[in-house]
């Protein structure tokens, strides 16, 4: 069932219940107060009659004319009165009831003997419903008379019937009007939800550029719209990153493929010297190595993303590791006449995976050697700073432009200079470094000035318990 219908039905049911209770209470209270008013007027009339009888020394009143002049209120059409003897026979009655038979009820007689006043509703054949009051007149312990005053309940019943009719007719009308209003309001309130649904469908169809128009009011719909837009923003960003990543990955893989395909096709176009074939095969081997490296590194990163890379958490003496890396890097540097210097070292133990940490530092030092100018120097330093081991690797090579620095840890990101400088990079090395540092709860930072060189700083938290 649609929300709009459900809201309207709930609302309608609640309203119907309220209307019903309200009407019932109204009816009951009205009926009671009308009847009370009748009873009160009967009581007053009866009291007057009793008073008058008392004044006359309880003599029965014979003369009707005198009676009427004495009690003008008795002449009113809507009231009649009867005076019964203690035996229950009529002694006197007002002229407006002469033609009617309304004997004293047994209950009234019994109550009169006990000296109490009784109200009763009576219905005699061929008469409208009546309301009667019977008042005993007792003198020195003896019941002398029973004065009965009555009136018809016609007007009261009519009023109540009219009220009932009004309620029965107006209640459904009121209910229908408010149901229609509720339906309209629910529709109005839910219209933005329909708009959101439509937009969501378009977005689900692949159009991530769609945004909802934010309503001016900061109500629930406004907040929902904002939340929804924020979510689409993030989705769009991550989709763009994925697209960028797969586009970069395919570019990096296509380049070696292009080289291999092109060189091989060219070689096969006509018979060549053996040396030519050797050159092509050697070149192809290089490209195969390059692709293997890209695929390996991609695989590593995607496994790392999936949390499938096992990491040891053992105490690693960083000083020994850094010295070892320095020895290996010195050999690398010799080929290009670059001096790798271990400036400072101190005893430091971190918790982590020695193999990964070795890969991290080798990668950074290898980069530093690669981007140095021949004859240059690479400095390595290990210090301790605020419970962290701080390893910095500084080169005086080509440097990284300010605007490129935030992006060098992105996958496949290579600055133009880096591309031009070394063709062998995969663009993934620093991404892997960043991942290793992060999985050791550390930080990696770069400070660089174009043309002057770069410093990569790795901060790793020290192991709490020294090994």
């Amino acid at each position: 069932m649609p929300l709009r219908l459900r809201l309207t039905l709930w609302y309608g049911t609640a309203l119907a219940l309220i209307l019903f209770i309200f009407s019932s209470i109204l009816y009951v209270i009205t009926a009671r107060s009308l009847r009370d008013a009748v009873d009160q007027s009967l009581e007053e009339t009866a009291a007057a009659a009793v008073r008058s009888l008392e004044e006359r020394g309880f003599l029965p009143l014979i003369d009707e004319d005198e009676l009427m002049s004495q009690f003008p209120e008795l002449a009113r059409i809507d009231k009649f009165f009867q005076i019964f003897s203690p035996s229950g026979t009529i002694t006197i009655r007002s002229p407006n009831v002469k033609q009617h038979e309304m004997p004293l009820s047994r209950q009234a007689l019994e109550v009169a003997y006990s000296g109490r006043t009784l109200f009763e509703s009576a219905k005699y054949p061929k008469e409208p419903p009546l309301r009667l009051i019977s008042v005993p007149i007792i003198y020195r312990g003896n019941l002398l008379y029973i004065v009965q005053v009555g009136t018809t309940m016609d007007s009261v019943e009519q009023t109540l019937n009219r009220l009932l009719l009004v309620l029965l007719v107006s209640m459904p009308i009121a209910l229908a009007v408010s149901l229609a209003g509720g339906w309209f309001m629910a529709g109005r309130a839910l219209r933005p939800v329909d708009a959101i649904t439509l937009a969501a469908q378009r977005i689900a169809g692949g159009d991530l550029t769609q945004r909802l128009t934010v309503p001016a009011s900061a109500d629930e719909i406004g907040r929902l719209t904002n939340t929804f837009n924020d979510m689409i923003d993030r989705l769009e960003t991550s989709f763009r990153q994925i697209r960028q990543f797969s586009s970069d990955a395919s570019h990096e893989l296509r380049t070696p493929l292009t080289v291999m395909k092109g060189e091989t096709e060219l070689a096969l176009r006509r018979p060549r010297e053996t040396d030519d074939y050797i050159i092509v095969l050697e070149s192809n081997l290089e490209e195969i190595d390059r692709m293997t490296r890209i695929v390996d590194e991609l695989l590593f990163l995607s496994r790392a993303d999936m949390g499938e890379v096992k990491m040891e958490h053992l105490p690693v003496p960083l000083d020994a590791l850094v010295e070892d890396v320095h020895r290996q890097a010195s050999l690398l540097g010799q080929e290009r006449n670059i001096q790798v210097v271990l400036n400072a070292t101190t005893s430091a133990v971190v918790s982590g995976d020695e193999l990964r940490l070795r890969e991290l530092f080798l990668n950074l030092v290898d980069n530093a050697v690669k981007y140095s100018r021949p004859g240059g120097t690479v400095d390595i330093a290990l210090t301790i700073e605020q419970n962290h081991a701080r390893v910095s690797i500084t080169d005086r090579g080509i440097g990284i432009a300010q605007e490129d620095q935030p992006r060098i840890f992105d996958r496949f990101y290579r600055t133009d200079d880096a591309r031009a400088h070394t063709k062998k990079g995969t663009g993934l090395g620093l991404s892997i470094c960043a991942w290793i540092v992060e999985s050791h709860r550390g930080r990696i930072e770069v400070q660089s000035k174009i043309g002057e060189g770069s410093t990569f700083t790795v901060m790793l938290p020290l192991a709490s318990t020294p090994a």
Partner: protein
């Protein structure tokens, strides 16, 4: 026909250059976008091959730069991205054709021939003057139905002459379109090659096709 290749991947650029040279094109190779644009603006190339992803200047900017300078040279773009939008952007920026890496050398050469054909007006696949015909696709040259064997440079020179029949071609024009930038313009190599061609095409024939225009250069014409 002289072609400029702007491609930052050294190996890709090298094999394209070798393949084209084996097809007797004169080829200049440039690995840098900004430098490549300067070369394209300064030299009258017959065709540009531009990689879209280049250091210092994206391929698209080269296209725009070349077209803004009102240079109508056909441009073939190379792209590693298989995305349609990159190719669309390239074509809209003034490229005439594209190839997606990795590509077949035969396709590259066929597209180059097609683009060069498009450059000169209403020229069919086979170039013909009098009874001399040259087929760029097979590089077969015949005169009066007899096959003529030419070296790469001789062929390149003849193709250039045949694409501009009836026009005086100066020595600088010939050197610009038949030799690449390493060519030393102060030598008489052009005259030597024209002589080689004369020996193979006009010798022993009553109707000479290659004419020397004194003080200017050479012209290929039927009468």
């Amino acid at each position: 026909m002289r072609i400029l290749v702007i491609e930052d991947e050294t190996k890709v650029g090298c094999f394209i250059k070798r393949a084209l040279e084996e097809e007797s094109y004169a080829v200049d190779l440039c690995e840098d976008g900004a430098k490549g644009l300067q070369m394209a603006l300064n030299t009258n190339y017959d065709l540009l091959i531009v990689d879209l992803m280049l250091p210092s200047l994206p391929g698209l900017e080269i296209l725009k730069g070349v077209r803004q300078a009102r240079i109508q040279t056909p441009i073939l773009i190379l792209t590693a991205q298989s995305q349609v939008d990159q190719r669309v952007k390239g074509l809209d920026a003034g490229a005439d054709d594209y190839l997606t890496k990795p590509f077949a050398i035969d396709e590259l050469l066929a597209r180059i021939r097609a683009l060069l054909r498009r450059g000169s007006t209403d020229s069919p696949g086979v170039l013909q003057i009098d009874d001399l015909s040259l087929n760029p696709a097979t590089r077969e040259v015949t005169r009066g139905g007899l096959r003529i064997d030419l070296t790469l440079k001789e062929y390149a020179l003849l193709e250039y002459l045949m694409r501009h029949t009836g026009r005086v071609l100066t020595r600088p024009m010939i050197s610009e379109h038949v030799w690449n930038q390493d060519f030393d313009t102060f030598t008489n190599v052009i005259d030597v090659y024209v002589n080689y061609l004369r020996n193979k095409i006009d010798r022993g024939r009553s109707k000479k096709l290659i004419h020397t225009i004194r003080g200017s250069g050479y012209m290929l014409k039927a009468d």
